[in-house]
């Protein structure tokens, strides 16, 4: 049976400060067939890093010019809050250009580590992005507003029809598919088991 992993599992395995870091790494070390979707590799992960980088580039612009109109577009609610926190810290002179550059560099470091993880640990990428079934994504989105997660879950479900898998995540909010299991089955899809590594 293959192990399909959510992106947060990869991030947790690379962040020693994450409270599930050890558990996740124990799981990954014991896993031989790790899968992710093409959608994660080609769209979700690049967009995730673009948003995080944007947060710091906006903060650096604000540091250099406090009149800079900060652009919050495309950021998630949490990222918007964290950007505001960072701007306050800049205002209070708790951050400077070097510290902001340092954090931006950490984001770039994490990105190359994620790419390495995918190259070295992931044995297969599944479901070409254009083949993700819109009907499935729509049902999942009725329950879970996050479109990226909906596409990843849809990819896992589609792959499960061909090769049995278990999906692993740390996300207890967006990956609970039990309540829509029946609707998914009405579309003739079997749901894979979802396990939470927390």
């Amino acid at each position: 049976m293959d192990d399909f992993i959510d992106t947060c599992v990869i991030i947790s395995s690379l962040d020693a400060k994450d409270k599930y870091h050890d558990t996740v790494n124990i799981f990954l070390n014991g896993s031989e067939n790790i899968l992710i979707s093409f959608y994660q590799e080609q769209e979700e992960i690049p967009n995730l890093f673009l948003r995080k980088q944007k947060l710091f580039t906006e903060a650096i612009k604000f540091y250099k010019n406090p009149l800079h109109p900060v652009d919050y577009s495309n950021l998630t609610d949490k990222e918007k809050i964290l950007l505001k926190t960072l701007l306050t810290r800049i205002h209070l002179k708790q951050e400077n250009e070097d510290s902001l550059n340092q954090m931006l560099e950490e984001v770039i470091d994490l990105k190359i580590k994620v790419i390495h993880f995918i190259q070295k640990r992931v044995c297969r990428k599944v479901v070409p992005t254009l083949e993700i079934k819109e009907e499935l994504v729509n049902i999942i989105r009725k329950h879970n507003q996050n479109k990226a997660d909906a596409k990843i879950i849809a990819s896992a479900i589609q792959e499960h029809q061909k090769n049995k898998l278990i999906a692993f995540t740390l996300d207890k909010n967006d990956w609970k598919i039990n309540s829509i299991k029946e609707k998914i089955q009405e579309l003739n899809y079997n749901c894979p088991e979802v396990r939470f590594l927390r």
Partner: protein, 339 residues
Amino acid sequence: MDNADKSRERKTSEGIKEAIVLELNKGPKTVSELSANIKSNWITTEKFLNELLTEKKVIEIISASKSKVYGSSSDPAFFNLPLSENTREKTLSLLKTIQDTWKKETDVPLQKTVLQKLAVQFVEENNLQKEIPILRFHYGQTLALRSEESIETGIYPLESNQEKNLKNLVKEYKSYSAKEAKLKQYDKPSMIFYKAKEDALNNLHPQKELSKKKFFNLLANYPSELSESFKLFDRFIYCTINVLKLKKGKEDYLVRLKEAFSLVWDCLTTEAYLYDIERNIDPEKRELFLQIKSNCLNSRIMSVSNALEEIEGEVNNLELGEMNTSDNLSDFVHELFND
């Protein structure tokens, strides 16, 4: 057919071809538009257009079988864009007036870059931007058209204070090389991204300290409206920062990084030019503009993306142990990724 008839026919043919080129020097057109403007029938117009295409005096801008659009190889508008007539006339006449004033004031030859930089400063100092647009392009700000001696144009009417201002600018710019004129422009606050690019690129040299800070500065100053080129730019920054993190051997990548950057820069400054020019497009030709824009950008994005793929692949295959990477995330970055 006797010689006199042949000569008359040749003259007529040449005349028609000249009329076609003159029309296309005013902007791109379809066969129907050309045929109406030069008062020749469709078949004759198309026949001579094909001859001009063979002679490379005319180019096909849009090649769709039912709606081909042609442009002149000597059209002074970059990318043969369908600029409004007013923008064309005012810009070309100002460039001509500057050239004439330059010739009267100095024997120093006027380089194209210097002409454009001087013209930009003149337009800004005299608040003429509404009729003579200033646009970002590969080497900084420029006017919408290049100066072409083969294009006949009138003189831009200058008021006495403008005339004085122009003479002063000529006095100043005659001592500048093209590079100096360019760098002078980059010192303006509005050109901070270009200045950051110059600093970052000069830094990509084995004799320099190879500082990552200059590339963070470049990234932080990226103009957010240039969204189509951003992913390419970001990929370049990613490769560069990771190369600069190498414990040894980073010098081996510098030439290729510079080559990749020149392609990325070509793409993003083309996007900047097309973004800035949009409001000066002839409203009736907006659809054509969008087609030219899409052709220009898509082909560039594709080729830059392919060029980046190779160096990106190498960077992604570097061993983490070869690089100075941080082992632990700071509290803030940890929080940022901890959804």
